[in-house]
């Protein structure tokens, strides 16, 4: 795997940047080279937020992703911005609870998931992007469920470890949709 690149995009506060960290941490656990890069441009709370994650067997060149293997979109502005950034044959993972438009590209794989519905069901917004990581893992194999579980323990502070079963359940629901 060389420079497998993922863009995660949505609203600020939706848990996008954290989901990216879980993905990077999971791949790190598998011995990969990883990078995580936030959009730190002129953006604000409630505005759009995105981050790039690169996973590779080789040292990573640019952590900034222009052509992504996978784009995870958690709101409509993100889809409008990043659908064009997917490599042919790549994946677009769409939160259909938030995004009412359809993907226009025919040369990519589109995975639709009501991630915000899953978030509502589990009672916190952050479970939405987590369920989409389940799609990512199942569809591309860029990291395993076991590594994701490990990353939860690495990233979440101990007082939040009670949330791990919920995160895993959301992840499994996403994986089951693929």
């Amino acid at each position: 795997m060389i420079d497998f690149s993922i863009i995660l995009a949505g609203f600020g506060g939706q848990g996008i940047l954290s989901a990216g960290k879980f993905a990077a941490e999971a791949a790190l656990y598998e011995g990969k080279e990883v990078s995580w890069f936030p959009s730190y441009g002129p953006e604000m709370r409630g505005g759009t937020a995105n981050c790039s994650v690169v996973i590779s067997d080789e040292p990573i060149g640019s952590p900034v992703v222009n052509d992504a293997d996978v784009v995870i979109c958690c709101n409509q502005p993100s889809m409008e911005k990043f659908e064009a950034s997917i490599k042919p044959g790549g994946y677009l993972i769409v939160d259909t609870g938030m995004i009412k438009i359809k993907a226009t590209r025919t040369d990519i794989n589109v995975i639709e998931l009501d991630a915000s519905g899953i978030a509502d069901e589990f009672g916190a917004m952050a479970y939405g992007p987590i369920s989409m990581l389940g799609c990512l893992s199942k569809a591309t194999g860029c990291f395993s469920r076991e590594s994701f579980e490990k990353s939860l323990y690495e990233v979440l502070p101990e007082r939040r470890h009670k949330m791990i079963p919920g995160n895993l359940a959301a992840f499994d629901k996403g994986a089951a949709a693929v």
């Binding site: 080279e33 995580w36 730190y40 080789e58 040292p59 060149g61 640019s62």
Partner: protein, 364 residues
Amino acid sequence: MAQKRLLMKGNEVIAEAAIRAGCRNYFGYPITPQTEVMHYMAKKMVQIGGNFVQAESELAAINMVYGAASAGFRAMTSSSSPGISLKQEGISYIAGAELPAVVVNIVRAGPGLGGILPAQGDYFQATKGGGHGDYRNIVIAPASVQELYELTVEAFNLADKYRNLVMILGDGTLGQMMEPVAFRDEEPIVTYEKPWATNGRGYNDDGSYKREHNTITSIYIDPDVLEVKNNELQAKYELIRQNEVRYEAIGLEDAEIVITAFSTCSRISRNVIRQAAELGIKVGMIRPITLWPFPTQAIADAAAMPNVKAFLDVELNAGQMIEDVKLAVNGAKPVYFHGRLGGNLPTQKEILDKIVAIHEGGKV
């Protein structure tokens, strides 16, 4: 023994490295994209009994570094481009007073307030002076989060060794990105005696002072005295030139085209080398790790190799390091350029296209 790899942000790793290197004095003022250095210091210095001051301005922060360094302590400040411009007066004074200090510049796009995204437009400022007078800073350009750690520790050793300011020149990419870092169990801290420090004269039993008082100054009104002082500085800089040049050379032995790039651009170029090889084009790279002292000889040697036909310099500016590359190549081979401005990064494809164009006819 190497510890396990942790996923950390570049800016936080700089702060952690400084603390591991024995720095207990940090003075700063917030500015994107380096503010996480401050955040980390604010949290950690309290826990370990160090000094953290959010100064009232960049000017104050650099002069607090001057004070702490005068007293013999390891001290650091960090900022990003506009803030580093404000610190230049203090940097010149630190050079004049020969104080060891570490200054971190996580460069953003300029000029003026510019933008907050990554750039390398401060190369001239960092390596050619920035402040007034004939002086040199040691300038180190890490290319990964792991190097931010190792080279920040090294920066404190070099500062003490030469009583000189060492600048870590990063950019917004390095500062903001998370990458794995493995910390060592023990840091290779070199302790230098500082008999010049203004840290108290002490008393003998009879009430007399133990020694004459030390003076830290950069003012020498007598031109002959100042000329001697300047010659001493220049002799020191020559010693640094001889001893401290660091660079990485990749694939020069059969390279047709040699890329020169530092930090973020060297990372992207490393992947281009692999892509070019798939097209049958042999590309090598010289990556300066110290921007001053510059690896002039290494580049001159590469320019003299018969297999090397051309150089391609890649930077996040309009062409700054390329002037040093051209001085080293000294007309022996053509030197081409690819740069991006405003906070944008070059893509691998852009650089590869340039390589192909050079390879096909030397015209770009």
